[in-house]
């Protein structure tokens, strides 16, 4: 396909949680290059988050390989890896009250020396990251005063402050309303197009993934149900099989869009 070496390469990976009866992942492969937006879709429990954990070296695969920038993911030190991959995890805590600029500054950790203080370049990187996420106006706000959508933008800014080549976003739009959802997808797409970043996004939004992502991996029961461009993956047969629900697929703007069908016949108007 492309001659550029992949930033992230997972090849035929199998993984089983200790003590679990079955494989959480079986024979799954995934390659992401700079300038690519890759979405991972699938029902709850299909292995999306496990795949990301294996890809990032947080879990060692039983068979197969997981590499980042040509090196086994488990072989990276977390610090070096944090300069290549920025992650927005599903959940995080706020044990102590913090302001937005402070929390984004935490993203500079992999660039700081053990004893040294933050340098001007670190503060500039924070400002730049906030700007790119359209969150500079939030810089002096306390975290707990932010709305859900603002908070996600701030967390994205923190990942960008790491100055990574790749972003991994685990369901970043869960529980956001339409506008903030679209904001976030547009932002991620913009970082790919303008900044040349690679983005790997786990999401439940089949339709937004179809419109924003270059490639889609559809997981079912820890296995690859389909993989490729949205148009080849999101066919009616595949989507119905994976999500166990009847759907219609309609094109919109050249992208396949899924419409879940009602199973029970709708009651007729009384005559």
């Amino acid at each position: 396909m492309s001659t550029v070496a992949p930033l992230l390469s997972v090849q035929r990976v199998t993984y089983r949680y200790p003590g679990a009866p079955g494989d959480a992942l079986r024979d799954v492969s995934l390659e992401i290059r700079a300038g690519e937006f890759h979405a991972v879709l699938g029902p709850n429990g299909s292995g999306k988050t496990t795949l990301v954990r294996v890809a990032l070296g947080l879990a060692a695969p039983a068979t197969g390989t997981a590499e980042i920038a040509g090196r086994a993911a488990v072989a990276w030190s977390r610090r070096d890896l944090a300069r290549i991959v920025g992650v927005v995890a599903q959940r995080e805590d706020n044990l102590f009250p913090q302001q937005v600029r402070e929390t984004v500054l935490l993203g500079r950790y992999p660039h700081l020396s053990l004893w040294g203080a933050e340098r001007p370049v670190d503060r500039e990187a924070v400002t730049r990251a906030l700007e790119r996420c359209d969150a500079l106006g939030l810089a002096d706000r306390w975290i707990w005063t932010l709305s859900g959508g603002e908070y996600q933008r701030v967390r994205l800014a923190r990942a960008l402050a790491q100055e990574p080549s790749m972003l991994v976003l685990d369901e970043p739009t869960a529980s956001l309303d339409v506008r903030h959802e679209m904001d976030l997808f547009e932002l991620a797409r913009g970082l790919v197009d303008a900044g040349g970043l690679a983005v790997l996004m786990i999401t439940h939004h089949v339709n937004l993934a179809a419109r924003f992502a270059d490639r889609v991996l559809l997981l079912a029961d820890g296995q690859t149900a389909a993989q490729g461009t949205p148009r080849t993956v999101l066919t009616r047969e595949t989507v119905e099989r994976v999500f166990a629900w009847p759907v219609a697929i309609e094109p919109f703007d050249g992208h396949p869009q899924m419409i879940p069908l009602r199973q029970r016949r709708q009651p007729r108007e009384p005559a």
Binding site: P18, L56, L58, S77, R78, R79, L81, A82, R83, V85, G86, V87, A89, R91, E92, D93, N94, L95, F96, P97, Q98, E102, L106, G107, Y109, P110, L112, L114, W115, R158, A159, Q162
Partner: protein
């Protein structure tokens, strides 16, 4: 900068009052020549500074480790182990000037090892929540054995053991100051080096990992270094509660929660608090002396109640 100067001033004031005030009257002009000042008050003041500082730093780092701002270094079972070691030494009539501190130190390390092992019960990863529960369990267990021994001991021994458990700096000498001054820099440096990753840990273990922290080694290092500080403190001065709980909170109010500023501030704040408390313990009921742990508890518990209200207030 002003707050650092203020804190330094507080420490200086605490040091001066600890040296000037005491049950025996020493004229200001005789301060430098007085034997009482030179061989009793000055080493005792320095020991209070070092022990209080150690407890402050241990408390601040453990609160970040177990991700619970209400954790106290003695909540992790160390006090129980130290008490058991000390009471065993008293009951078995082990002699020698260092018998008691050494026995307490060994007891604290034993409790630390047990709690650490229990903290790993879920697998290869140290679980801070289990650590906290294991600490309480080990504390209760060693406390039961200690009470059993004390109840079987002779009356004079019993009073000694009981007072020792409440903490006190009356055993201070230049030798103890020297031992502590040589011992504590290592765990202090280990904890200060962990300051930034501890900031990340407040977000949770996985987010901290993604930001570049090696979470498992970090948790182990912080737990062991903070426990080593607490064990040394308990060995030379018994169980002095609430310094490690209250001081990090007050310093967090002024310095924020960034551990690079918080840890040094907690050291100075803990030192100042214990200096003041020990001065009160020496002077208030002179010529007798209160165990300093009673003073810190009497000051600490009401303060704790106020902080608890502050903490829970905005949420409920």
């Amino acid at each position: 900068m002003r707050r650092w100067l203020g804190l330094a001033g507080l420490v200086a004031l605490a040091l001066v009052s600890a040296v000037v005030l005491g049950p025996a009257h020493v004229a200001l002009g005789d301060l430098t020549s007085s034997e009482i000042v030179r061989s009793l008050r000055v080493p005792r003041a320095l020991l209070a500074l070092l022990v209080g500082g150690s407890l402050g730093v241990a408390g601040a780092s453990l609160q970040a480790l177990v991700r619970n701002p209400l954790a106290d270094p003695f909540l992790l079972g160390l006090s129980g182990g130290a008490g058991l070691g000390a009471v065993l030494a008293i009951a078995l009539h082990v002699a020698g000037p260092w018998a008691l501190p050494l026995a307490a130190f060994v007891g604290a390390l034993g409790a630390m090892a047990l709690v650490y092992r229990l903290g790993l019960v879920g697998g290869a990863q140290l679980d801070p929540r289990v650590l906290l529960l294991a600490g309480v369990a080990v504390g209760a267990f060693t406390g039961a054995i200690t009470t059993a021994i004390v109840s079987l001991a002779e009356a004079a021994d019993l009073r000694n053991a009981f007072l020792w458990l409440w903490g006190g700096l009356s055993g201070a000498s230049w030798d103890t100051v020297l031992v502590i001054a040589v011992y504590i820099p290592v765990p202090l440096v280990v904890l200060y080096a962990a300051a930034r990753p501890l900031d990340l840990l407040a977000l949770g273990e996985e987010p901290a990992t993604h930001l570049g922290a090696d979470v498992e080694p970090l948790k182990r290092r912080v737990y062991i270094a903070a426990s080593m500080l607490t064990a040394a403190a308990v060995a030379v001065s018994g169980v002095i509660g609430f310094v490690g709980l209250i001081v990090p909170h007050i310093t967090r109010l002024v310095w924020g929660h960034h551990h690079r500023a918080l840890l040094p501030a907690a050291f100075l704040g803990g030192g100042a608090l214990l200096l003041f408390a020990d001065t009160v313990a020496r002077v208030s009921v002179a010529p007798r002396e209160l165990p300093v742990g009673i003073v810190t508890a009497l000051v600490g518990v009401p303060l704790f109640a106020v902080l608890l209200r502050r903490w829970m207030g905005p949420r409920g």
